[in-house]
Amino acid sequence: MELVCPAGTPATLRAAVQAGADAVYCGFRDETNARNFPGLNFSPQEMAEGIRFAHDHGSKVLVAINTFARADNIDPWRKAADTAAASGADAIIAADIAVLDHMATNHPGTRLHLSVQAAAATPEAIGFYADSFGVRRVVLPRVLSVQEIAALNRAITVETEAFVFGGLCVMVEGRCHLSSYATGKSPNLNGVCSPPEAVNYVEDGAGTMAQLAGFTIDRYEAGKSTGYPTLCKGRFKAGGKTGYLFEDPVSLNAGSMIVAFREAGVTALKIEGRQRGKGYVTEVVRAFRKAVDAVEQGGTPTEIDSILASMSEGGRQTTGAYRKTWR
């Protein structure tokens, strides 16, 4: 299985490659990719250099152009696709039919991966993208169970990539407007979810309210550490109950399921976190490198768990939808 790792900056790209990434994914410094945060991402020159560095070390670079091209100006997306192809990207990760069509027409030699933002989860949808644009791999939405992934792999002819570590979207990606409803900025249009400029921490007598565009997303007692107000992981009230109605503030760690992914026919495992620093990426990639190698050599689940044990401490984690009980 291929280990696909995040690179938010040129330094993280080098760190991920040196820690054993088979492939890194990254994006340009603009709204064409789904991690459009200040201080992140690559200029065209940095991209070309990053690709050279990765290739010199035997790794691939997958360039994410995975937001939806803007109605009044599609050019930045076409230009990003052209630049990535010219720089020797090993694949373009795209979600928008406009971007996929542009790639298939103008760069038929460049591999296309379907971004999770396209939310393709059935053989028919995946078949459509494969037949229409020659998509070779599909990044699966984080709402499928491992059993469903196995069944899907039996019914399709393209590769699948599954998220294994990092953030957990609980809504079908690419079809969630919660962020733009509250803040006006969205993953599909702006490459951001619950953006930092909309965040406000308000102190009152009892503690701290974490707000997003004026909506209170969570509340913390005085002295307790505060979390980031990601919309779907906030505390709300409904039907007489108060709590994390959509999802707890947890992140995804499906490291314990690497064997199951392999048996389900998954080609690539994706680590999320392009906004993370060099140290974090190095540590996570190293651990997953060891775990994937152990699996490839017939290692046992217990062995894999012990390799990944250090990463389950601290923050709360879940295997998300991969286990059916999550629903």
Partner: protein, 299 residues
């Protein structure tokens, strides 16, 4: 300038068969809408309840002169759900696709691209038009200015905006109604039926914010896009979609019809609308290129 048409979107909620019948019979007889969407879009588990009632309702609506559109599921998962999409796509009536899953079996026949399909630009719209898209209702977060920019690149296609109702904001593999009741999706006991307009989700300081409807998350507020008809036309909008709720939808349709016929100013139409028993306050931020939750500019 052709008149702007009114569309009644599919019911997003789990209404019992009797409620569906009463609702659509009244729509057939009284509502001044041109087109009516029927079908389960949100949750395939609900289909066994509503599937038996559609044939009668289609007949009744068509006899009343309404154009019927068959709406398909937005997040098909099971083999049965995928088969139902394929079956619907074989129908000679107009079909609304709400997921790319439906495209292979509907290509070459006319379809409506629903708000769950990601049409964000003209190139994507043109791609779908070449495959049969006749009407495009873009994702709800797109502004009128962006919709107009797309529409200008494909002048022969009807663009429809989500003009009235709680906004469909997100879909999940997880059922939030089941989760709230301590159940799993597989044994949900159809608790979503208790909330025929969805269940309001308040913030910790009691501000209405969202609404849950099974696997769907909606706005707690009600979208109400209202402009003078000439302004809709100037933005290339050819249809307005009204999303069904338990309030008097015949009256909602009449208010929008008066607006489109120039008999009611937007401001007065909004007052008339807010006098109905709506599930939430009126918003129209998305249409203006703002956050969707922003209240209507002049209430």
């Amino acid at each position: 300038m052709p008149p702007i048409a009114l569309t009644l979107g599919p019911v997003f909620f789990h209404w019992p068969a009797e409620r569906l019948k009463d609702f659509y019979f009244r729509i057939a007889d009284e509502a001044p809408v041109d087109r009516v969407h029927l079908g389960e879009v949100v949750c395939g588990k609900r289909m066994p309840f509503s599937d038996p009632v559609w044939p009668d309702l289609i007949e009744r609506l068509e006899r009343a002169g309404k154009e019927v559109v068959l709406s398909t599921l937005a997040t098909p998962m099971t083999a049965r759900e995928r088969r139902s999409i394929e079956d619907l796509c074989g129908d000679s009536r107009l079909v609304e696709i709400n997921d790319v899953t439906a495209l292979p079996s509907r290509t070459g026949k006319p379809f409506v691209s629903g708000p769950f399909v990601n049409v964000y630009n003209g190139a994507t719209a043109q791609f779908l038009i070449r495959r049969g898209a006749q009407t495009i209702c873009p994702p709800v977060e797109l502004s009128l200015a962006h919709i107009a920019a797309i529409a200008r690149t494909c002048p022969d296609t009807e663009f429809e905006i989500f003009a009235f109702g709680r906004l469909p904001l997100a879909l999940s593999g997880r059922c939030y109604h089941a989760r709230l009741h301590g159940l799993h999706k597989d044994s949900c006991q159809f608790t979503c039926e208790q909330d025929p307009d969805g269940l309001v989700v308040d913030t910790l300081d009691d501000q209405s914010f969202l609404a849950m409807n099974g696997v769907q998350t909606m706005s707690a507020q009600v979208q109400a896009v209202m402009l003078p008809p000439a302004e809709f036309a100037a933005q290339s909008v050819r249809r307005l979609r009204l999303s069904p709720h338990t309030c008097d939808m015949v009256q909602v349709a009449r208010i929008y019809r008066s607006l489109l016929e120039g008999n009611e100013e937007p401001e007065r139409a909004r007052v008339l609308l807010s006098n109905l028993d709506l599930p939430g306050a009126l918003v129209d931020g998305y249409a203006r290129g703002r956050a969707g939750a922003e209240p209507v500019a002049s209430p």
